[in-house]
Symmetry: C3
Subunit: 224 residues, 3 copies
């Protein structure tokens, strides 16, 4: 079971905490830039870090969601808010570090959300949806609360697309593990490859300014 | 059972797909007008077409919701996004076609949501709420994501009111079917009448600029 | 059981209706100030009064939520919308009455939401989260629909903080009741004290302009 692969391994758990922490930093930083008070900073750190998983659990019916029940993750998100409230001038200088950690979190949450959905016997399509919600909903709720158009719509670079690719690959990785009996270690290696692919897609898009095409541009209309 | 009446009939299923498709067109068009990329167009098509049903299923506890599990509806919503990305100049010319199809979808989703809630043994009041969520939540989520005040609040013409009337009439139709043993065909005819009533109310309101009164206008206050 | 203490007592039930009513007034008033029609006024009264409880029930999995099933509460919320549509000029003059009743509702919903979560065997931390959602989500959804940054983030005075203190104290009150066998009356007195504490914190903050610190202000950065 994917779930087991994820939860039985210290590397994966450590990485998930890291993703939570860095999402929390980015949420808290957004609140600081708007000059909100410490409580609002904590609220935005928490919602950015754990809002994706909460949305996934709501849609799965796994209630109450991990984002309000798991002391480790809640504490991690809140600690990230407190830390960013103190060291925000340094973090502001770390623009590329933030983009990097955000891209890493994107990949980690995509794999994690898809795997949890598969462990709950979701179909492949449903698992892809739930993986994308896990990766994207936290930042989307943050942007809605800040009264901005969410990054998934606004970001010119690839952001939702890498998460989609990652969720799809995670489903294939789980299918391959079952089919060829790859075992826990085999699946873990595949999952790590997926995280790297998502990370690379996102970073390449930002660095080389790669964008996704919009609607087909046509001047004339051909109505009969 | 209402559910059975809806699901056993090819006409109803065809009509529900049509409603999904036209809601998807309108969501995708909104993304194109903001010049978002193809992925954002698909996201908005999907959320506008299926967000209402997802909200209904979340509140009913019917999880995971149809909007992320039913391949037919998901595909219909995404295909509508792809189509509108290509033929948007033509669709922009079809202002009245869009208002017409939107009004049709309003009626169809109101009947569909109310009927599903009744099939889950909801009370009449709860079924009316869930029907209205089905009809209105998709467009509301679309508007929130686009950082606009939702149409249900902003639209000067009757929009939420026809859906309310439609949900109420659907409850009466289900009660009448049970009471007088009207059978599947009888209920279906009543449901079609309800869709027509919602459609007519919405269209008449737009065509003849009929609006709903606001708060009572009074200049003087009479505080003791 | 906390739940029993809340539901078996006429005082508590009366107070909860009052909180619903006053939240409904404030939601309707916001719609009137934007010159929306009567239906939008009712929508905003309902969502402001019952949106917090709906969010709590969604996260608890207590579905369908009370906010669409309980005729008494739904009616109270809608009646508050109708009343404010008529007497809004008077209510506009009652700025301090609104702040006062809003502060009272904040305390009541915090105690109520935390108690319901404990009755569903939530941990203390989860109960605090659910209490805060009950107290704060209704106003937050109202602000999102009105396309404004929610009060929990924007309000310079203490708003989320008193609700947090109230939820925490409610958990302690429940623990104390169990530990020292205080019984129904003992718990009720403790709960009333909690409501008063929340109310006092909020009012003192507004009256004496007490604010919560923001991020640590530092000009220089010390990156190595």
């Amino acid at each position: 079971m994917e779930q087991v692969a994820l939860e039985s391994n210290a590397v994966f758990i450590g990485i998930e905490y890291l993703a939570t922490f860095f999402c929390g930093l980015s949420g808290g930083l957004a609140a600081i830039h708007k000059r909100y008070d410490l409580f609002s900073i904590l609220v935005l750190s928490w919602v950015t870090a754990l809002g994706g998983g909460i949305t996934r659990d709501l849609l799965l019916g796994a209630l109450p969601p991990v984002g309000i029940t798991d002391k480790g993750f809640v504490l991690t998100a809140l600690v990230s808010g407190i830390i960013v409230a103190i060291v925000h001038p340094e973090i502001d200088h770390l623009k590329w570090s933030m983009i990097t950690t955000d891209a890493l979190a994107l990949g980690l949450f995509a794999v994690n959300g898809t795997a949890k959905a598969l462990a709950y016997h979701s179909s492949g399509m449903t698992a892809v949806f739930l993986g994308m919600f896990t990766a994207l909903a936290g930042g989307t709720i943050r942007d809605i609360l800040l009264n901005e158009v969410p990054s998934i719509l606004r970001d010119k670079h690839l952001y939702a697309v890498p998460s989609f690719v990652g969720c799809l690959l995670t489903v294939f990785a789980a299918r391959a593990t079952d089919h060829w009996n790859l075992g826990l270690n085999g699946e873990m290696i595949l999952d790590i490859v997926v995280v790297i692919v998502v990370f690379a897609l996102r970073m390449l898009s930002v660095v080389f300014n790669i964008t996704f095409p919009g609607a087909v541009e046509r001047r004339q209309t051909h109505l009969p």
